[in-house]
Each structure stands twice: as C-alpha cells, then as structure tokens.
Amino acid sequence: MSVLEVRNLQTHFFTDAGVVKAVDGVDFTLDEGEVLGLVGESGSGKSVTGFSILRLVDAPGRVVGGQILFRGQDLAQLSEPEMRRMRGNRIAMIFQDPMMTLNPVLRIDTQMIEAVRAHERVSAKAARDRAISALAKVGIPSPAERLEAYPHQFSGGMRQRVAIAISLLNGPDLIVADEPTTALDVTIQSQILAEVQGLAKETGTSMIWITHDLAVVAGLADRVAVMYAGRIVETGATDQVLTQPGHPYSIGLLGSIPGHGHRGQRLAQIPGMAPNMARLPEGCAFAPRCFRAQDQCRQNAPQITEPAPGQHLRCHFPVLEREALS
C-alpha cells in the first residue's frame, strides 16, 4: 500500500492581485520506503505542496480541494488537534532554514526531549538517549556534549543536521524535506545527502525531497516529479526522467544545466520566463515558452497521460521515446 496518495490537490492564495493557484490539481503517490524528488523552478508550487501535506498553509492561502491520503486517511479532514498529533510524529518536515524547526533561545536537549515527549510518554532519560542516538545518526560528533549547546553555537550545516535529527526522533513514516541543503556549501551538502541516503535505506522512511537542483535528486530519488506553474507536468523513474524526459519543460530544464560534458557550448535555454501565477494563460501554462506549442495547447489544458508504464505526462505533444530528440 502506498504511504501517501495525493489526489487533485488544490491550494490557492487569495491575494489583492487575484487568486494565485499555487497548487492546481497535483496528483502523486508515494510507496513504502520510496524517495520522491519534487523538482521545479522557484514559484512552481513545490513548497506549497509540501506545506499543504502537513497542513501548514497560512492565510491568505487555503487548501481548496483534493485529498491527502496518508495510509488511507485523508489528512485534509483531520481536526487540528488530530493533525498536531501527526506532525513531528508520523509525518515530519525539514525546511531550507533549520531555524524554522529550532528555537534560538532553548538548548538543543530541551528541544529534542520536548519533541519526543510531545508524542510519547517516556522518561526524560529515555528521550535524551533517543536524542543522542538521532544526533549520532546524522553525523554530529560527540552528540551527548553537543546536546547542551544552543542553536547559534552550531554552523549552518550542523544546525541543519540537528533539524534533520529532530525530524527523525519519533521514527516518522514520511518526511517532507524542502530544499534542506540548498543554502549549504558543496562539501557540506554532500555529507548531509550521504547521511540521508543511508538513513532512508536503513529506516525505510518514505521521503518527498523538494529541490530545484536536478542533480541532487539524481543521486537520491527513486522517482521524480517535475512541477511547473502549480502542476506536476511529468513523473517517472529518476533515470527515465533524467535521460529521456518526455515533457518539453523537463527537456528544457535539463538542457539548461551547465557543466556535465558540454563545456563551452551554448546551453539549450528555455525562452521567456515563468508565468505570473495570478494570471496564468488559458490552456497549457508552458505554451508561451514551448518549442512544440500548437493552437490546441493554447486552448485546452492537457490532461495526464501514461504513454509508458510509470511515466505520467501532462502534455498534448510529448516527446516520446520513438522520436526522442538527439
């Protein structure tokens, strides 16, 4: 059974400039132990998708439709106290800024013990031991000593490790990670990715790993979902999406990445820029930038198709394997 099934999720922001359909009909499933990479450029709706799952969307935003089935139970229907019992317990979130998780004026041990005891009746000693083992798991040296420190006494990378350790405390079934390594240096990023890779394998926790960096998901995710303008436009096995993308946007995005063997050549750029989310065009939102757009694209929004098993595309004229662009 899938751990999470998101069906037709719609989260809108009701702003002075109009209704921003930040998430507009998102569907995906996440299997036991699976890591799903959710990628896309800024403003495409990745974070709002993550926040919606944890019911952390604030006004002027609201989940206006769809289902978020966590082990078959619709999170959208839970009362706030029920949801609070889920959060930090069965479902945890890691943010780009670890200070979203950490309290600057409390020692790490206070915060971690509290996080355990909020969901389980265990002794302070047992909670403390669990905190130490969580810190050790994410590669924090001398965890027992470090427990007594305040967040500001850690470097940015270490702070993010502490936030990850807190997310692991209660052995959640699902972790939603929103760009947790984006602000870190390369050597620190790869240390953390290595820890997470090991942890995912070891604990079998399902994860949604949100990032704008396709190379990060290449190493981490089993499947990838590509978002554009509030919708998932392509989903598939990681290798499939990265080597034989079918959606024109995925193709453009991959072609835009510098390095990786086309030194000095022109990058295959996508023309134009991301649309204003309060004024999306009719039809396919990518049409103004798409090299394959035709009249039909400008008139009707494409529906999801499955041209090959496991490959989901939202495009009238996808680039399929037979005619893959060279």
Binding site: T187, S190, H212, A215, S256, I257, R263, Q269, I270, M273
Partner: protein
C-alpha cells in the same frame, strides 16, 4: 600571451568585530574576541586578454574579497595588482582610475545594486554620460542600443527596477556595466540567485558578449558546473589561499590538489544513475582561526606531519599550479 591582469601576492586582512549573536554568545560564556581574518592570503595569478578565468571555492574562501580588490572597490593590504602591465594597486593613481572604468563588476543580487528610485535609462546611462562616452542628448539612443545587447526591450527604459523579474534585473546590471565599454568583467556569483532556465539564458548572454565585444572575464562562482561550462582556466581557493590553478579541461578531468579532488568528486551528477554521495570529513574551519600549515590538513585524507607545520607553496608547472606537499617532496 601577455597578461591583461596580474596579481602578485595580493592579500587582504580584515579586523573582525563581533556581531550581535556573538556578543550574546560571549555573554552566555563563549570565549570570543575580535580578531583578524586573512580573507585573501598572497594570491598570485594572471588573466590573459580574451580569457575567462573561473574563481571557485566554498563560501568564505575569499572570492568576493579578491574580486572587489581587482575591481578597485577595496584596497589591498599587501601585494600588487597590474592591469595591462601598469601598477593599479593604489586607487588614487590616474592609472588605477582609468582601470576602474575598464574593469566592471557584476554582483549577485541585482536588486541591491540597482537604485530603486531610478529609471532603467538613468541606471544604465548615468555613468556613460559622466565619463563622456555619450552626451545627455544622445543618451536614450545609447541606452537603447545597450539594452538590446543584453536582450532587453528598449521600450523598458522608462521603467523602475522593481517592475522586472530577477533575470531581467540581472540583465539591467549587465547593461549598466557594459555602458561604460569595459574590457574586463568581474562576475561575482552573478547568476547564483537565478532559476536554472534563466541562468542558462544569462550564461549564454555572457558567452555572446564575450565573442561580440572581446571581453575578458574573472568569473566567480561556488557552482562547479557553471565554472566548468564557462571558464577556460580555473583558480581554486580554500580559506583565503589559492590551492590549484589549471585549464578547465585538465583541472576537471584530473584534479591534483586533494581539495580540488574532493570538490569535483562531490558535484552531484545527472549521469551515472543512483550514485552514493562521496564526502570528505569535517567542516570548513573558521577563517578566524585557520589550522596551521596547510589549511586543508584536518580534512585531507593524505595529510602527514609536514602538512601541520609548513604552508605549502603554490608551485607552477606550465599552465598548472598546485599548493600541496604531495607535489613537493611529500608530507612526512
């Protein structure tokens, strides 16, 4: 090939005052005091006319400080900078003033470097008028031509910066730099804040401009993919010091300094499927209190006793230069 830009043992120290968090930490008992940072420590390299030299390293290694010294925006505390063979180290000299116009810098965050109350036309044209490259009367046409060069519609000239997207604002910043007809551009993380698809557009723009205007670049980035794509030669820094220099090809295909090896090893790759992330141990040490000898030794898998005692010198070998005891008699 004669060098267009030459750096000779350029250094910059900062006396670092405590920030508010550190002051608080001191009250809570942390042992902190004001101290001296060697932000750039004896950097020597050159850039030939027409070349793109990439400057890469993790945050705090001194890239921006180095760029600002070359641009004449920050005085050096040691060493010499020569531009076209002329000493421009002292900002007050006429040679340095002329170099300051021919060398332009493009920053990461276009918004913070663009005056929000000025129209694009004035942002781009102001310096060109001041330096007599165009007249006040001809300025609108001059600006229109410059905007076209960077792919912006000249009809935008009367707008204000906030009316543009991030990518467009970066183009305005580039147009402003180009308006004074520079020969040398320093790009400091100029594309770091942009989305991948917009980043690609701006990288392509930099390459077109290089070809069309015979520009020379010092391209600063923490992103190895970007550096690999755009640079002819690469300079790698770690904690204020240059550790390796080489042609892009040689450096990426066969990095020789252990830090460069680690960096390149750790670029997440799109190809090669589900790789395991490889790592080097440890954190980037505080620049306030860098390890003695080779700054990299606490993290280096090859470190020996000599590495803790002795600072490795940057040894040149043709187009390659490496600062590591392994390349110079061993680590014992």
């Amino acid at each position: 090939m004669t060098a267009m830009l030459e750096l000779d043992a350029v250094s910059r120290q900062f006396i670092r005052k405590l920030d508010s968090i550190e002051k608080l930490a001191r009250k809570l008992g942390a042992n902190l005091s004001e101290s001296c940072v060697n932000a750039v420590d004896g950097a020597s390299f050159s850039v030939a006319r027409g070349e793109v030299v990439g400057l890469v390293g993790e945050s705090g290694c001194g890239k921006s400080t180095l760029g600002r010294m070359v641009a004449g925006l920050l005085p050096v505390t040691g060493g010499k900078i020569r531009f076209e063979g002329v000493d421009v180290t002292d900002a007050a000299t006429p040679a340095a003033k002329s170099a300051r116009l021919r060398i332009q810098m493009i920053f990461q965050d276009p918004m913070s470097s663009l005056n929000p109350r000025m129209r694009v036309e004035d942002i781009v044209g102001e310096a060109a008028v001041y330096h007599g490259l165009t007249s006040r009367r001809e300025m609108p046409d001059y600006v229109a031509a410059t905007l076209e060069k960077v792919g912006l519609d000249p009809a935008y000239a009367q707008r204000f910066p906030h009316q543009f997207s991030g990518g467009q604002r970066q183009r305005i910043g580039i147009a402003r730099a180009l308006a004074v007809k520079p020969e040398f551009l320093i790009c400091d993380e100029s594309i770091a804040a942009l989305d991948v698809s917009i980043q690609a557009q701006v990288i392509n723009l930099f390459q077109d401009l290089r070809r069309d205007l015979d520009l020379t670049y010092l391209f600063i980035s923490h992103d190895l993919g970007v550096i690999e794509h755009i640079a002819d030669r690469v300079v790698v820094m770690y904690l204020g010091r240059i550790v390796e220099i080489g042609t892009t090809e040689a450096l990426f295909d066969a990095p020789r300094h252990p830090y460069t090896q680690a960096l390149i090893d750790q670029i997440p790759r799109l190809d090669g499927g589900r790789q395991s992330f490889r790592t080097i141990k440890g954190e980037i040490p505080s620049p306030l209190n860098p390890p003695p000898g080779c700054h990299f030794h606490p993290r280096c898998p090859f470190a020996g006793p000599r590495c803790q005692r002795e600072v490795p010198v940057l040894r040149h070998e043709g187009t390659r230069a490496i600062a590591c005891h392994l390349e110079d008699g061993g680590t014992e």
